[in-house]
């Protein structure tokens, strides 16, 4: 008799389970950003109207430093555009990376005055402990995103035991553009004590308003995963790569169904030190490993953004070893052909022991034409650089012309 009652209860549980699955949202296509009207290229228009080579004044890229927190070690900066046109930055700072006193800081850039506000602490170890009701040893890697309802969401990682490989992702939201934040929520994405899921690159949005968060594991395996996030919880996930060779995926959306992801390579010695690539043709529901992008990668993070008129930008260390050279690259709309637009930092001349580290870049575009970049400057400061849309297009055209001229010379 007790067995019959138990089986009836199981039947009830089964029905509830089926209803739960049935109520889950279907997988939506990617949301495409609204394409802005492409402005006329200033150089071309000037030449065609006057028939004279007039050189328009295009401002050089601006450079600032993120405000000093007084902490000797800073890292992992990220950015998001605010509704009033300002830029909010997040980064972590403390006595050293992974120290218990590390906090996540935030400051706002007034783009008109080109000045950063005084930094404030967004999250520290003790606040994370209280919000998540568990012991937390350290915090890191803040990554902001904009929810479909207009709120900000900040993903960050916490570690309770061990190094970064023991990380888990948490998220919190803000109704006031980052001035105050909700209690954090833990994202569960791994079956082994939820260990080793980290975030570095910005989320992409689905047409239904949910987020696709490129995340990665770096403990037993080193691979990318695409988390489907709804209201601070993971509701699905898909593997973007496997094994121990690719982390920190960065997603470029081609259209509502197609996307490619580029990775930081973590391959063992003797294997190609190039950028691993995966592609999806069903809005991230499945990913296939593709041919490497033939750009050197010394096991360091890559930042990228797609501009509205098609081109893509990447900032990365385009060298086999070290992080002493950082470049800005621009690629075509398919992301197949890339060229260096500007060498942002290069410490090649310094002896290898004393070379500075330029790493962990993060790129955003506010109007779809320009680009704001932040990166770690020798672990001591965070550098911010702004590239206007006009400057980017001029630099791209100049390089394209040089390439064409070189090809013509080769043919001759």
């Amino acid at each position: 008799m007790s067995r019959v009652i138990a089986l009836c209860f199981l039947l009830l549980a089964g029905v509830i389970g089926f209803l739960h699955i049935d109520s889950r949202p279907v997988w939506a296509p990617f949301s495409m950003p609204v394409v802005a009207q492409v402005e006329e290229e200033p150089e071309t228009s000037a030449v065609s109207k006057s028939k004279m080579p007039v050189k328009p004044s295009i401002a050089n890229p601006l450079a600032t430093w993120l405000p000093d927190t007084g902490a000797p070690s800073v890292h992992a900066a990220s950015l998001i555009a605010l509704n009033d046109g300002a830029i909010r930055a997040f980064w972590f700072a403390g006595s050293y990376e992974g120290a218990p006193d590390v906090s996540i800081y935030s400051a706002v850039l007034d783009p008109k005055a080109n000045l950063w506000s005084t930094p404030t602490v967004v999250m520290d170890r003790v606040s994370a402990e209280k919000g998540l009701a568990r012991y937390i040893a350290k915090v890191g890697n803040p990554v902001p995103s904009r929810l479909s309802d207009g709120r900000l969401q900040l993903f960050f990682v916490t570690v309770s035991i061990g190094g970064w490989a023991g990380s888990s992702i948490s998220a919190m939201t803000s109704d006031d553009e980052g001035l105050t934040w909700s209690n954090p929520q833990r994202l569960i994405s791994s079956p082994l004590l939820n260990l080793s899921t980290l975030v570095k690159s910005p989320a992409v949005q689905f047409a239904d308003g949910r987020l696709g968060l490129p995340a990665y594991h770096e403990w037993v395996g080193r691979f990318g995963e695409f988390l489907r996030v709804d209201a601070g919880q993971v509701i699905d996930k898909r593997r973007m790569s496997s094994g121990r060779s690719a982390i920190q995926p960065l997603v470029f959306i081609n259209n509502p169904q197609d996307a490619i992801a580029v990775f930081r390579q973590t391959r063992s010695a003797g294997q190609a030190k190039q950028i691993p690539v995966s592609a999806s043709s069903n809005a991230g529901q499945s990913w296939d490993v593709m041919k490497d992008l033939p750009i050197a990668n010394p096991n360091s993070a890559i930042a990228g953004v797609t501009l509205h008129n098609g081109p893509r930008l990447m900032v990365l260390n385009d060298i086999d070893y070290g992080r002493h050279r950082l470049v800005l690259m621009m690629g075509d709309a398919k992301g197949e052909h890339w060229q260096v637009l500007e060498v942002l930092e290069d410490d090649e001349a310094t002896d290898p022991v004393h070379r500075k580290e330029f790493s962990y870049p993060y790129l955003i575009s506010v109007d779809g034409n320009d680009a704001h970049l932040v990166y770690t400057w020798d672990r001591k400061k965070i550098r911010h650089r702004y590239f206007s849309g006009a400057w980017l297009m001029r630099a791209f055209n100049q390089h394209a012309n040089v390439e064409v001229e070189d090809k013509v010379k080769e043919l001759q």
Partner: protein, 206 residues
């Protein structure tokens, strides 16, 4: 929503720690303890783990345990708590062996071996849910009714989003359950082997 999830999780961890301590103490004790003693002890220990103790501790003891272990699966908790009940029927060896075999296959793939991720099935695969129900039915057919109840409660807890996880795997399986299954399975085989050797000695012609 997040607030009650955190409190429930801390209560569960506190109760689980209390149950584990009592079971370990019981193992070391030569006498069987009455259920009422175990119940009082469980409540006392659970309170000790749940409430902040002050001193230099920022959090309750359960929060420190949870920081390392995460949330236990519903199956683990119910088996652990159920072990305190005197008339509790032992978990069948077949169930333990099944957990070990499942873990050996599941964890390597879930942790990055290949592009197939069985953990992702737990978010909303009907096939996976049917498989779990079939396992529960097998438990019932094998006359282990407790197993049916435990798996059914785990499915309901997942549907109700009882824990932080939205993945059914996290309500069914965790590394502690696997470690317990491996330990007790090996122990059972070792005892069987010893019994066999002993009986062989007794009946060996002199």
């Amino acid at each position: 929503m997040s607030g009650y999830i955190q409190i429930i999780a801390l209560i569960e961890v506190s109760l689980s720690c209390a149950a584990l301590i009592i079971l370990l103490m019981q193992k070391l004790s030569p006498k069987a303890w009455p259920f009422i003693v175990k119940a009082i002890l469980a409540i006392a220990l659970a309170n000790l783990f749940f409430w902040p103790l002050g001193f230099s501790l920022e959090l309750p003891l359960a929060a420190y345990v949870r920081g390392i272990t995460g949330d236990f699966s519903v199956v683990t908790m119910l088996l652990l708590w159920g072990a305190l009940i005197p008339s509790s029927k032992p978990t069948p060896l077949g169930f333990k062996v099944a957990i070990v075999v499942l873990a050996i296959v599941f964890y390597p793939f879930a942790l990055g071996l290949g592009m197939t991720d069985p953990y992702a099935w737990g978010y909303g695969s009907i096939t996976f849910l049917i498989d779990v129900i079939l396992v529960a039915v097998i438990c019932g057919l094998a006359n282990w009714t407790k197993g049916v109840w435990i798996i059914a409660i785990a499915i309901i807890a997942w549907s109700a989003h009882w824990h932080e996880s939205a993945n059914l795997w996290d309500y069914l399986l965790d590394p502690f359950l696997v470690i317990w299954a491996i330990g007790t399975t090996l122990g059972a085989f070792y005892r069987r082997r010893q019994d066999k050797a002993r009986s062989g000695y007794l009946f060996r012609p002199g």
